[in-house]
Amino acid sequence: MTPSIPLVIIGILIILGGPLIFHLVLASSSSYTVPPSVLLLGPDNSGKTSLMTLFERGANPSKTHTSQIAHSVELNASTDSDTKASFRNYDDATGTHTKFLLVDTPGHGKLRNVSMGKLARTEKVKAVVFMVDAAALGEQETIAPTAAYLYDVLLFLQKRASSKGKDKASIPVLIAANKMDLFTALPAAMVKSHLEVELSRIRASRSKGLLDSGVGIDDVGSEEQDGWLGEYGSDKFTFQQMNEFDIDIDVLAGSVLTEEPGADKWWWWIAQRVVG
């Protein structure tokens, strides 16, 4: 034989093995299974990055400053283990644990599009945690941008839910009222009512406001109902109205920096959504 047997075998191996190796290299570079994600949204200085580091470290959240990019950490949640209600579950071998990504986003106004982009593009979003600074929420300067951001987030989720086509799971929202350890902090019920009032006000002024540039006159009639958050034509906005779009909204109080009331309630809320 002109080409010897070993040569033929090597040739066949290369021909068959080449694509296989190529495939393996490609496959190893990108993970196939995407773990579920939980997004941390909220205005700047509300404690998103602190909460993320608290959950990761178990205690003593890292010192943080204004974030510029989104960052995610991998955590394990469980609803049937011994320490299910606490995020300090590193040594816990009981029960089943579900891996998920907690994605921290920048809260600065100029980087809002980064955060909203994360919300739009992240796969398998199980829940959204919207952090607010309950201690500063009594002031007009804080509640106005906070509510405006929340309005955008809820409107996005509403549009996503009402858009037909792909059958996507609804995304529940947790409004995490942070900094309860501070003296000026509003209790959760007050945070809720303040936000509802502010959201109705924003909704009213948006409906009366100018059109965005780029929106043609022809689109006006059809677009109008889409831009309305909650029950169309209702006078006051309440979080219950979002149930219509399968969006559950809970308001829970807590604090990142202190043991009491701590962040366990938020963790339990997240764990239920991630596992469930």
């Binding site: 950490v73 040594d91 106004g109 100029k110 006000r201 009366k208 100018l210 965005d212």
Partner: protein, 661 residues
């Protein structure tokens, strides 16, 4: 001396920090917001090649911040000190610390899905650098201030700390003369190992979190303490030393008996640890630690460790230096024929398939194309160059994705760059703002008053037209509006407004809006007219006052100077400048001059871009305006009718700017 030194990531986590005096976190937050996010001083996006000396120092009221940035790791090194002090060696310190830190812990920072960096042993390196640089600097000027700083840095154990610090220094670095030992190292001895319990947790959680549960358990039961990865880099002798410290510290700081020693390490829920607030924990434990470790150090191996560490640091710095030189040399001299041939082919291949690491040369031609594209869109040259430079710096060293061409990469980077530039820090909801001024909440102690908007701009850009468009919008929302004729110069200006008011009255009569004109004829002082109009409106219960002003050339000092008086008299809530989309490069100068014209306390609040319907896709003017002033675009005029006023949408503008035709 220094107030604080911090190493933080762009995701906002402080990886390592040292605090000598309490520094409000707001200072660093403002620094980040101004320098990195808003790019206020017009600085182009920072690169890692720059040292701290070339990066402009950031000054807040009392502090000066020097910083440097490592792009690929997303690390910011920032040092905070009092502006009163002139520390000549700070730049060098920041640069050296950057080099050392990146060398030691760089690989840890590239791990995905974690914020943990084990760098508790970095304290020693930092102290070594600080001591060395401080020693070489001028001693006389620093010492008195330093003595003042002493009480403020170690709250609990200040006296002992200082005392021991000096003894350590005297014994440890015995070669120094008495003057220098006295003045230099106040911060140095007190923290040869201030690894806090918090840091301990950090060190443990890292590897543990990555492991499976069973492995973790196994580790838990084995008696060896979890060693941190970085220690392998240091000498073995030092490793021994470090372990010894760790053990001693654990007992002392926790106050626990040794019966619990193993479980203690992985028990994160110690109430006494967690209950400490963050800053307290750092301060307290570092103080505690410092005392014991310094006693330990001075007694046994203090001197040796310091010396050893110094050598290692010098090695690191030297090797980094050499690497840089080598890289430069390699860039200049091309490799042999075969090597370059293979490189070219693989480069071409990667160009198509993706996964290519971009260099400046790769980007050059594509960036030129992008710059031309922006110039064709009527972006002022200055703004286009700035945008392209920032995009280029962002992309150099970045790998392209699978099957992603360079052009696509640049396109998406430019899109995000433009979006970031045009997005306002806080969005303007005019109606809500008017409501909060005209009918303030009962709880606030403000009195209701009319909301004042004034409109400025150069001649003929459409000030009066846009004013009446805004007026029409407000009237539709049932506000009571007073228009003040502040143009007391150009003949026909008052009559023009009168016509607008008459039209608006007719148009909105049945919708319930009310509008009146306030005018004092020609030749009067515009500022006085505006002031009278505002007080008249307050008396008559108007909601909004719209003040028209005379058009003025932006480089005419005489005309521009009257704007400062105008701003002082009329106290407008919003000063909007009208800029026309037709103007080209001059828009930058216009925006700058108008922004500066209202005195030091007042600036423009927003732009109205008029005549957008006449330029099609070439809306580059708005980029130029925002580039020059960082003032957001609020409204866009898109036609001849009263209703042709639009809120500015960033997405729309970016889409137009990047569309190719």
């Amino acid at each position: 001396m220094l107030d604080a030194f911090e190493v933080l990531t762009t995701s906002g986590v402080v990886v390592w920090s040292r605090t000598y005096a309490p520094v409000s976190p707001a200072i660093v937050n403002n620094f980040i917001a101004d320098t990195f996010i808003e790019e206020k001083n017009g600085s182009i996006a920072p690169t890692d090649s720059q040292s701290a000396a070339t990066n402009p120092a950031y000054r807040s009221d009392q502090h000066t911040l020097k910083w440097t940035f490592v792009k690929e790791l997303g690390l910011i090194f920032v040092v905070v000190y009092r502006s009163l002090l002139h520390l000549s060696w700070v730049d060098k310190l920041v640069d050296n610390i950057k080099t050392i830190f990146v060398q030691l812990y760089g690989d840890q920072l590239t791990k995905p899905h974690t914020t943990l960096v084990e760098c508790h042993s970095f304290d020693e390196y930092f102290d070594q650098q600080l001591r060395e640089l401080d020693r070489s600097s001028n001693i006389g000027t620093i010492s008195p201030i330093e003595e003042e700083e002493v009480p403020s840095n170690g709250q609990q154990s200040a006296p002992g700390l200082t005392y021991r610090g000096r003894t350590l220094n005297g014994g440890g670095a015995g070669t120094q003369d008495p003057v220098s030992t006295d003045s230099t190292p106040i911060p140095t001895p007190d923290a040869s190992r201030p690894s806090t319990p918090g840091n301990l947790v950090v060190a443990k959680a890292g590897p543990v979190a990555k492991m499976s549960r069973r492995a973790r358990k196994a580790q838990n039961s084995s008696s060896a303490p979890v060693s941190s990865g970085d220690e392998s880099l240091t000498s073995s002798r030092q490793k021994k030393g470090a372990k010894a410290t760790k053990k001693g510290r654990k007992w002392n700081a926790e106050g626990f008996a040794d019966e619990e020693d193993d479980s203690l390490q992985l028990d994160y829920s110690q109430p006494n640890r967690a209950s400490e607030s963050e800053t307290e924990a750092v301060g307290r434990s570092s103080a505690l630690d410092a005392v014991e470790s310094s006693t330990w150090g001075s007694r046994s191996k203090g001197k040796f460790i310091l010396k050893d560490l110094g050598d290692e640091v010098h090695d690191i710095l030297a090797s980094a230096e050499a690497e840089k030189a080598e890289k430069a040399a390699r860039a200049e001299s091309k490799t042999g024929l075969l090597g370059s041939g293979v490189n070219t082919i693989s480069g071409l291949f990667r160009n198509i398939v993706g996964g290519k690491t971009l260099t400046k040369a790769d980007l050059e031609s594509a960036m030129k194309g992008m710059e031309d594209h922006l110039l064709r869109k009527n972006v002022a040259r200055e703004a286009a160059v700035r945008l392209c430079e920032s995009v280029e710096k962002e992309l150099v060293g970045v790998k392209t994705g699978n099957f992603e061409s360079i052009n696509a990469k640049i396109h998406s980077a430019m899109e995000s760059s433009l979006t970031k530039m045009l997005t306002p820090t806080s969005s303007l909801d005019l109606l809500r703002e008017i409501d909060s001024i005209t009918s303030p909440p009962v709880t606030s102690l403000r009195k209701a008053r009319p909301y004042v908007i004034s409109i400025v701009g150069v001649n003929g850009v459409g000030k009066s037209t846009n004013l009446s468009k805004i007026c029409f919008f407000l009237l539709q929302n049932k506000y009571k509006v007073l228009i003040a004729a502040g143009d007391t110069f150009r003949s026909g200006a008052v009559e023009q407004l009168a016509v607008h008011v008459r039209n608006l009255k007719e148009l909105t009569a049945r919708e319930g809006g009310q509008v009146e004109l306030y005018q004092k004829g020609y030749g009067k002082d515009a500022a006085a007219v505006a002031k009278d109009a505002v007080s008249h409106a307050a008396q008559e219960g108007y909601d909004v006052v719209l003040i028209d002003t005379a058009g003025r050339r932006h480089n005419d000092q005489r005309l521009m100077s009257s704007l400062e008086k105008f701003a002082k008299f009329a106290q407008p809530d919003k000063i909007l400048m009208v800029g026309e989309a037709l103007v080209g490069t001059d828009s930058v100068a216009q925006a700058r001059n108008f922004n500066a014209a209202f005195g030091s306390e007042r600036a423009l609040d927003g732009f109205i871009i008029s005549k957008c319907d006449t330029v099609g896709d070439m809306v580059g003017t708005l980029v130029s305006l925002v580039h020059a002033t960082n003032v957001p675009v609020v409204f866009v005029g898109v036609g001849q009718h009263y209703s042709d006023l639009r809120n500015f949408s960033v997405k729309w503008a970016v889409g137009k700017l990047l569309s190719s035709n």
